[in-house]
C-alpha cells in the first residue's frame, strides 16, 4: 500500500529496514529531517542501533571508520559543506575499503552561501573512490539504500557508496511511496559479517602507510573493485526487482530513445521533468529521447555507448560546474566516446545551479538549442544555462 510521506522520512525508514549497527550524524540543511527521523526511530525503539551525535561531519564519517573496522554496519548522511568537510575522510574510507553507506543530499557549495539544490558537492567528490548513484525520486532513493549496502559490503567490492538525492526537491517533497518490508530486506540484505575486524583475539593493523613500492597496487585494487561494481550494481538491481517488484534499470536507464535524434543525458530529480518535456516534444513530432545516468561512479561508459550510438546530437544537463573547464559529466561523456565510432556532436549545459528551477520550459529551450547544432554546427560546446543578463548589469538590485 502506498503512503504519502516526506522524502526524508522515506529514506530514514529505508535505513531502518537495513538494520544498521551504528549511525553517526551531524545536522545540516536539507539533510536534517533524515537524521531527526532516525533519532526518533531509535528513541521510540523502532530501530535498535547505536546512534552518535558528533561534533562535525568530519567526525561523523571518521567515527564510522572505527565502527566499520570493528565490524559494524554503518550509515551516515550529509550534504554540501558537510560533504566538503568530509573530503579527506572520503578518500580514507575508500582506501581502507570500508563499506560505509551515506545518503548524500545534493546541495550547492558556498560561496555564495546557498542551502538550495545542485550537485556540485557530490560531483566534486567523484574521485574519492565512492560508488555514486543518483536517484530520480524518493522511491528510488529509498530502494537504493539496501541495494548499496549489499553492493558495498560484498567481499568482491568493499567500496563505500553514496545514494545521491537532490536536496529539498526530494528530501522535502511529499510523495506517495511504497515502504520497504523489513523482513524482505533481511532476506535481500544478509547481516554484515566482515572477514577483517578489530579483534583482540586476532590482532590486525588497519591503516598502515604504504611506501612507493606498495601504494600503486592499493590504488590498482581499488580501481578493479570499482570496475567489478558495474556488474554488481546491475545484478543487485535485478535481485531487488525480483523480491520487491520495482526496477530502475542498471547503471543507466533510457526513455524514448528509439529513433531519437536529439538525446539528453542527465541525472537526479531533473530526470522526471525531462521525461515530461520529452513526452511533450514527442507529441509535437520532435525526435528527442533521454538517458538517465544512475551510476555516475563507476561511470557507465559501455552502456552509454550502446544507448547513444544512433543519436545525431547529444546534450548533457547537469547541476555542477568545474570552474576552469566546463562540467564534469560533459567532460566524462566526451572522453568516453573519443575512441569509439560515435561521432555525434556533444554539447553540455550547466543548469539548476544553487536551486534555480529547471522546468519543462527550460528543458525545451535546451532541446531547441541542441537541435540547432544539427543545422548550424556547434556554436558553444558548453554553456552555463539560464544566466539572467539583467543581474549582471551594474547598479541592478534585484526584482
Amino acid at each position: 500500500m502506498m503512503k504519502v510521506v516526506e522524502g526524508s522520512y522515506g529514506i530514514a525508514d529505508a535505513v531502518r529496514c537495513c538494520s544498521p549497527d551504528v549511525i553517526s550524524v551531524y545536522p545540516i540543511t536539507p539533510q536534517t529531517h533524515i537524521v531527526e527521523h532516525l533519532s526518533e526511530f531509535v528513541a521510540n525503539g523502532k530501530l535498535d542501533c547505536e546512534y552518535i551525535n558528533v561534533e562535525s561531519e568530519f567526525s561523523s564519517l571518521s567515527s564510522l571508520i572505527g565502527a566499520s573496522a570493528a565490524g559494524a554496519r554503518t550509515y551516515t548522511s550529509t550534504t554540501s559543506q558537510g560533504l566538503a568537510l568530509m573530503f579527506e575522510v572520503l578518500f580514507n574510507v575508500s582506501g581502507m575499503r570500508l563499506p560505509i553507506v551515506m545518503t548524500t543530499v545534493n546541495r550547492a557549495l558556498s560561496a555564495p552561501l546557498s542551502i538550495w539544490n545542485d550537485q556540485q558537492d557530490a560531483m566534486a567528490a567523484r574521485e574519492a573512490g565512492w560508488i555514486q548513484i543518483y536517484a530520480e525520486n524518493v522511491q528510488e532513493a529509498m530502494d537504493l539504500t539496501p541495494q548499496l549496502f549489499k553492493i558495498s559490503e560484498d567481499p568482491e567490492i568493499l567500496t563505500p557508496s553514496m545514494v545521491c538525492m537532490d536536496g529539498f526537491i526530494l528530501t522535502h517533497v511529499y510523495e506517495p511511496v511504497e515502504f520497504l518490508d523489513i523482513e524482505k530486506v533481511r532476506e535481500f540484505l544478509p547481516p554484515y559479517r566482515p572477514e577483517y575486524v578489530l579483534d583482540p583475539k586476532d590482532p590486525k593493523t588497519f591503516g598502515a602507510f604504504a611506501d612507493p613500492s606498495w601504494f600503486t597496487e592499493f590504488r590498482y585494487l581499488q580501481y578493479q573493485a570499482m570496475e567489478r561494481a558495474k556488474k554488481k550494481i546491475e545484478k543487485v538491481s535485478k535481485e531487488f526487482e525480483e523480491i520487491f517488484g520495482r526496477g530502475y534499470g542498471g547503471l543507466i536507464d533510457t526513455y524514448s530513445m528509439d529513433d531519437a535524434e536529439v538525446a539528453l543525458v542527465t541525472m537526479g530529480s531533473v530526470v522526471g521533468t525531462a521525461k515530461e518535456a520529452v513526452d511533450e516534444l514527442r507529441s509535437e513530432g520532435v525526435k528527442v529521447g533521454l538517458v538517465k545516468i544512475r551510476s555516475y561512479r563507476p561511470f557507465p561508459e559501455e552502456e552509454l555507448k550502446i544507448a547513444l550510438k544512433d543519436a545525431r546530437v547529444i546534450a548533457t544537463i547537469e547541476k555542477d560546474v568545474s570552474i576552469g573547464y566546463e562540467s564534469a559529466l560533459l567532460t566524462d561523456l566526451k572522453g568516453a566516446f573519443y575512441n569509439s565510432p560515435i561521432r555525434a556532436p556533444i554539447v553540455g549545459f550547466a543548469a539548476g545551479l544553487g536551486g534555480r528551477d529547471i522546468g519543462i520550459k527550460q528543458i525545451r529551450k535546451i532541446v531547441e538549442k541542441t537541435s540547432r547544432v544539427l543545422d548550424a554546427g556547434i556554436e558553444a560546446e558548453f554553456e552555463i544555462f539560464d544566466v539572467k543578463q539583467e543581474c549582471l548589469q551594474e547598479g541592478y538590485h534585484g526584482r
Binding site: D21, V22, S24, C49, E50, I52, N53, V54, E55, S56, F58, S59, S62, S63, L64, I65, G66, A67, S68, A69, A70, G71, A72, T74, E88, V89, N92, M96, L198, D199, P200, P203, K204, T205, F206, G207, A208, F209, A210, D211, W214
Partner: protein, 292 residues
C-alpha cells in the same frame, strides 16, 4: 621487553622516548585492547606496510580524527556487547593539542569509555620539529627559530590537562617515562574510569630537543624535578594525586642540557627568559603543592 605488545623492529630514532611510553602504556592496558592512533611519529615508525609493531588491534585513519575513530570503535563494541575490551587513543601532541582538538572535545563530551594517551614531545617531530601548541615558552623549533628578533616560541604551552578537566572527564593525569610505575598505575586507573580519560605522557625527543643519546629518561626526570612538569592526577575534577618533588632543582639544570634552549644562555634577553621560566616552575610548585 621481548614479549611487549609493542614489538621491536619499529623505526623510531635511537634514543627516542616515545617507544618507552608506548610499551609502558600497552603493558598496563594488556592484550584485550584496541588502539587508534593519528598520523605522527608513532604511526609512521610502527606500521610501514606490510610490517607492524602492534600486537594488539590497531587502527590509523588521519591526523586529526583518532578520537572520532576510537569513538566509533567504542560504540561498535558496545553494540556487540564486547565492553570488556579497552579502547585507547595513542597520539602525539600535534594531533592532540592542535589539529585533532575538536574531535577530542567531542569524544570527551560524549562520554565514551576511551583512554586518550598523548605522548608529548612538545612539537611536530615527524615533520621536522615545527612548533605545536604544546611547545614550551622560548623553545627553539624550525617554525619558531631564534634570531635577532626572536627567542624562540613566543607562547607558553597549552594546558590540555586543565581543558580535559573542564570537560568533566572523570580521569585526567600527567605522567613521565621516568616514572614507569606511576605511569602504569595511571593507565590502569584510567581504564576503570566510567567514561573518558586523558593521560599526557612526557616523552622527550632526541632530535627535536637535542640532548645526548640515552638521556631521554633523564630529561623527563629533570622536567619533573624542576617542577616544569607537574605529575598530577584528577578524579572527577578533584586533584587527588601529586608526585612530590623531594629536591627541587633550578630550571637551568633542565634547560642547559637541551639544544632547543641553548640560545637562552647566550642571547641578549636570555636571562630574563630564564627568570620567567623559573617563575613558571615556581608557580607550578605552589599551585599543585609539589614540594613538601
Amino acid at each position: 621487553m621481548e614479549d611487549s605488545l609493542f614489538a621491536p623492529g619499529h623505526r623510531a630514532c635511537a634514543g627516542c622516548g616515545m617507544p618507552t611510553a608506548i610499551k609502558l602504556v600497552l603493558d598496563a592496558a594488556g592484550p584485550n585492547t584496541i588502539v587508534a592512533s593519528p598520523t605522527g611519529c608513532l604511526e609512521v615508525t610502527s606500521t610501514p606496510f606490510p610490517e607492524s609493531s602492534w600486537r594488539v588491534p590497531w587502527i590509523h585513519s588521519l591526523f586529526e580524527n583518532a578520537a572520532a575513530v576510537a569513538s566509533g570503535v567504542e560504540v561498535a563494541l558496545k553494540r556487540f556487547k564486547r565492553t570488556d575490551t579497552n579502547v585507547l587513543v595513542i597520539g602525539g601532541d600535534g594531533s592532540t593539542f592542535d589539529i585533532g582538538f575538536g574531535a577530542i572535545s567531542g569524544m570527551f563530551d560524549r562520554g565514551h569509555r576511551i583512554t586518550y594517551v598523548c605522548y608529548d614531545n612538545e612539537a611536530y617531530m615527524n615533520t621536522g620539529v615545527q612548533r605545536s601548541a604544546s611547545t614550551p615558552f622560548c623553545a627553539k623549533t624550525t617554525t619558531t627559530p631564534t634570531g635577532k628578533m626572536s627567542l624562540g616560541n613566543p607562547r607558553p604551552k597549552k594546558d590540555m590537562a586543565a581543558i580535559a578537566v573542564a570537560h568533566g572527564v572523570p580521569y585526567v593525569a600527567t605522567a613521565s617515562i621516568a616514572y614507569p610505575v606511576d605511569l602504569r598505575r595511571k593507565v590502569k586507573m584510567s581504564l576503570s574510569a566510567d567514561g573518558p580519560a586523558y593521560i599526557q605522557v612526557n616523552a622527550p625527543c632526541i632530535t627535536g630537543w637535542s640532548f645526548g643519546e640515552g638521556d631521554a629518561i633523564e630529561q623527563s626526570r629533570l622536567a619533573v624535578e624542576t617542577c616544569l612538569l607537574p605529575l598530577i592526577e584528577y578524579v572527577d575534577g578533584v586533584l587527588v594525586g601529586v608526585k612530590k618533588v623531594r629536591r627541587k632543582r633550578p630550571v637551568e639544570d633542565y634547560l642547559k642540557t637541551q639544544g632547543r634552549y641553548k640560545h637562552l644562555f647566550k642571547a641578549e634577553g636570555g636571562a630574563e627568559v630564564l627568570a620567567k621560566i623559573q617563575a613558571m616552575a615556581d608557580a607550578n610548585a605552589a599551585k599543585f603543592g609539589l614540594l613538601d
